[in-house]
Amino acid sequence: MDARLRRVNKEIADCKNDKSSKIQLDLVDESPFHLKGSFPGPEGTPYEGGRFEVDIRIPDSYPFQPLKMKFITKVYHPNVSSASGAICLDILKDQWSPVLTLKSTLISLQSLLCSPEPDDPQDAEVAKHYMTSRSSFEETARYWTHIYAGGPDPKAKDGGSGGGSRDEVAMAGLEKAHVDQFEALGFERGKVIDVLRRLNYRGANVTKITEDRVVEELLKP
């Protein structure tokens, strides 16, 4: 049997036998080299209560080349692309080591959720949000966890998930009052959300960005 296959089979079996880590590995198709991993969001973070799925590709020269991983579940995090799920993590790049495994790499992703590194961002807009207002960032991350990862509804007092329609303003991490304010000037709501998100119209930044500047952006085609 080929070395890579033997090692991967062993790793999948080890992961199945270990119930304590709550890390799961599933086949995606016929190939044992395309997997789906998942883990619970770490406690005490905005990702708590959610379950996060990761697409895993095992390269031909594994374990001498790093695993390829990206989030399937949308995650609001400075080191994860909010659009594509691409991950910025050193061990998936130049800090890879052949003694790392599927499980240990997924555990590293889990701990990345605990400790964002905004200085080396994958998603610059999310990183700016994180740097500008931590509480607003966490609120948005919690909302994404609820919408995409099955986490509890942050608005429900009891913490249970209560359905409800998706709130585009909360998704973008903005204040409803700000969006209303510019929408009242006659701009389309979706465009207002887009512009305010790009400008990082949050927290202390709001006082630094003039209304004219926002309007100027809104007028751009």
């Binding site: 080929d2 070395a3 033997r6 090692r7 062993k10 790793e11 374990p63 001498f64 080591s97 052949p98 003694v99």
Partner: protein
Amino acid sequence: MKVTIKNWNAIAQWRWDIGKEFDETDDEDLCGICRVAYEGCCPRCKMPGDDCPVLWGECGHVYHMHCIMQWIEQQPPNKQNCPMDRKPWITAERKTANTATQQTQAVQS
């Protein structure tokens, strides 16, 4: 009573002396790179033994020679580190490296 030995088969067992008792359930006895026991050969080889030896680093970590060499050779010179502790890899001189312990027993049939 007189016993006549008509036929016998020799069975030999050997293992690398890695300085501790072998425990199959323990990850410590597996090459961290290929996850095969040190006793077995690396995935590229067919037969365990002197053709597929194990190598010690000065840091104390042990790998199949073929496994660690494949890793070291693909790394740039400034990053030829031990995969476990990321310290620069230096192969340790070790006297016991070639003395596989051996026991032979005769089976009567």
